[in-house]
Symmetry: C3
């Protein structure tokens, strides 16, 4: 009972954070027809800055880490990436008025990871002084790539079967490569590599770290405006997408939270690390995933999967997901 009360208290206090305020503010001014615009060049640069910051910090800390600790969370991340797509394949993609390949592509995007959502979660963890393994950000590709690969493979199997040519096989490596070359993963991995190999502390401390929260707040504003703009696209497709996009982030996040809790009990994975795992499972890709899916499942309708992710999935993952997982971690593990 106390745990529930504590969870609710903390959940409500999260709702007043500036991160969330900017996200909702963006949705509201877009809904009111504001002509405010954050130029695309700024948006791209902010995403780069945030992922570089997250990567550099991860890289600098991985040096000190016991890498064997990373094994179980990495396996869980990989399993979650595939599981999310299978869940979507056998729920959303089977529903009436949902084209099977559209449903699979949407599930793939929800299995893939959003760097912005991850950055928002890290900002909250840091402002709440909740420790997390810095290497946990490196779980990103372990979930992102398997999800996209699984979605493209499942869609190909389905489409081949429909067309009656079961023999054609799907090449995995081009999908992996395409994912790794995406702008978000490139920036994150480059940051990790530079953090690991060079001595970036001076630029990290004077530039990437101090600007992090502010840039994140601007990004949240853009994402809120974008979410509203995409709602129109979502209206054009079946209502099931909206239902899925609302339910899926929290379902995926809570399953991953459960797996993270197993790692917490067995190998001492920190409460903050459990939150990171839940957040990346609950997030859905807005930037890097769509081009890979467009290339891999060309017949799927981008309005369905991008609309679901940007208009509903990401706001739910940030506004509800992050405070829920943090509240749960504090209530269950005293994080």
């Amino acid at each position: 009972m106390d745990a529930l009360l504590e969870f609710l208290t903390r959940f409500v206090s999260q709702l007043q954070s500036p991160t969330l305020g900017f996200l909702l503010g963006g949705m509201i001014i877009a809904a009111l027809g504001s002509r405010l615009e954050i130029p695309d060049a700024i948006y791209k640069f902010i995403v780069f800055m945030l992922l570089m910051k997250v990567g550099l910090k991860g890289g600098m800390k991985i040096r000190e880490a016991e890498l064997s600790e990373m094994l179980l969370p990495a396996i869980f991340a990989l399993a979650m990436g595939m599981l999310i797509v299978f869940i979507g394949r056998y729920t959303l993609a089977m529903l009436p008025n949902v084209k099977t390949e559209d449903g699979i592509a949407t599930a793939g995007l929800f299995g893939a990871v959003s760097g912005s959502t991850l950055a928002a979660a890290l900002a909250v963890l840091e402002s709440e002084n909740i420790a997390y393994e810095a290497w946990s950000v490196a779980l990103y590709p372990f979930m992102d790539i398997p999800a996209l690969v699984t979605a493209i493979v499942l869609a190909s199997l389905y489409l081949n079967k429909k067309r009656g040519n079961g023999g054609e096989s799907v090449k995995i490596w081009p999908i992996v490569k395409e994912s790794l070359q995406g702008s978000a993963l490139s920036a994150l991995l480059l940051g990790i590599a530079l953090g690991l190999i060079t001595q970036p502390a001076p630029v990290y401390d004077s530039f990437f770290e101090p600007l992090f929260r502010g840039l994140l707040s601007v990004l949240m504003l853009v994402m809120g405006m974008e979410a509203w703009a995409r709602l129109n696209e979502l209206r054009k497709v079946a209502h099931w997408y909206a239902v899925y996009a609302f339910v899926a982030p929290l379902t995926h996040g809570l399953i991953a939270f459960g797996l993270g809790w197993i790692a917490h009990v067995t190998t001492g994975f920190s409460p903050g690390g459990v939150v990171v795992l839940a957040v990346i499972a609950g997030s859905s890709s807005d930037i890097s995933g769509p081009p890979t899916l467009r290339a891999g499942i060309p017949s799927a309708n981008p309005s369905a999967y991008v609309g679901s992710s940007t208009a509903v999935g990401t706001p739910v993952a940030i506004a509800l997901g992050i405070p829920i997982y943090i509240g749960l971690a504090q209530a269950l593990m005293g994080g």
Copy 2:
């Protein structure tokens, strides 16, 4: 005599401020044909950053404010917005070689408010440690919207009469809505709302506040370059525009200063607040006003009103207006 001497001393010292240096520097390098260019995306983002900073601070402080204090200055702001347009209607718009609707549109733009000029004034007030009511920035829409509405209504009355169809009425609400949806007012009002409702102190203190002065200096540079570039457009229209654009900012600013001084004496409006009122009256809109006017008075020539405002009005409002009002406030009210 002492007051005059003190005023002159302070006025000259204002002329050496970096804000002004960047403004004049921009005009000079543009005049010398420099190919230096601050990309448009950066310019738009800087304007957003400055207005968000001003709004956030206003919003955070309004919580503590006695809102009844705001009443008289708000009424004065509204009156000034309308008065400025009437002054222009019966001076500039009656002059030879000035098309009546062009004159009215120009007066509308000079009644509307420039967020950049406001930001520049706040930077000077802060560097001089002159206190001002944080809610005074919220006077912006109280002057901006009535000015644009009055200009569009007066132009419609004139054009209807000329065309002999006096019956057609002008709809006010679309003009108000159009103004509120403009990028500058959107950013300012969103900032005020976020400052009021959320807890933005961490991002304000780590991001919006520290970057304020620097971004402002870059904005001044852009405005200087832009002013020079627009001089060519101004050359194409009657010389009266240049005369009006030089005289109007200071006239409007000084009238508003007088009204502010009444509020100072009667309700204790601070000297810094009087300066803010004078600055927003003396400023002319460069970003948000023009699209509203273009939609509301389509037959007016943008070269006339944008040229007047950007090439002469804004530099005069910043380079002469701000130091004059601050000097006066210090000499008269010991601000």
Copy 3:
């Protein structure tokens, strides 16, 4: 022997700096096909910010400087600018498969100065606490403009002779003007002027200085990506360009280092100043030079000169040149 050992130790430690890490990182992710992109608007703004910072600091310090000290280094800079072009005219431009005007234009670009390379060198000098005359950044135009003028004059002489009309003379002033109006020199000179005349310390200390290292690291990333992208262009022209582009920066830098050392012995030019002179001689222009050359030697092939400078010259000047000159300065002059 000790000096050599000390030089090598310091040289290796320079290779671990974040500046270099970002440069190499940019080349590597571009080589791996990453779709990461820093928008052009951001790139242009970063270059502006760095040159404005360098200029402001130079301007603020020139006030305190004994300007007669500047005479000898300025003469050396001017001599180097012309000498570099003559060296290129009688080596690269005489080689087989090298079109004479292409070779001259390439030599002109290597004589011209790169603001980015200069900024990178200043960041290293500051992080190593090596003092340098702040006015030394003002040597930039003394080398840049003579190099471009000499290249265009030599190319015109050659082309006129080839066409058999030896009489046509080249106008020098338009070339000088074109150089001064370039974005890089404009920003640097405006910064120097503002530093000299206004009181920019508040914006310098709160904005330009703290962001310097971080923005530089992003710029290095862009330059690394750009260098890789330009390698393709370089492959289309004779291999001699690659050889020249590798050898020339270090040759020019070391000659200038020798001249700087003469100024050190005779007039007390600081070791840091000697490094600055060597760096600007070793650098080749990526931004401002090419348009001037395109206008001045229209028949020269930009793939040859831009490819040589961006793909090979600049990375060599930064990654090898800067640590070599600093190592030498410390070993020879105890800087």
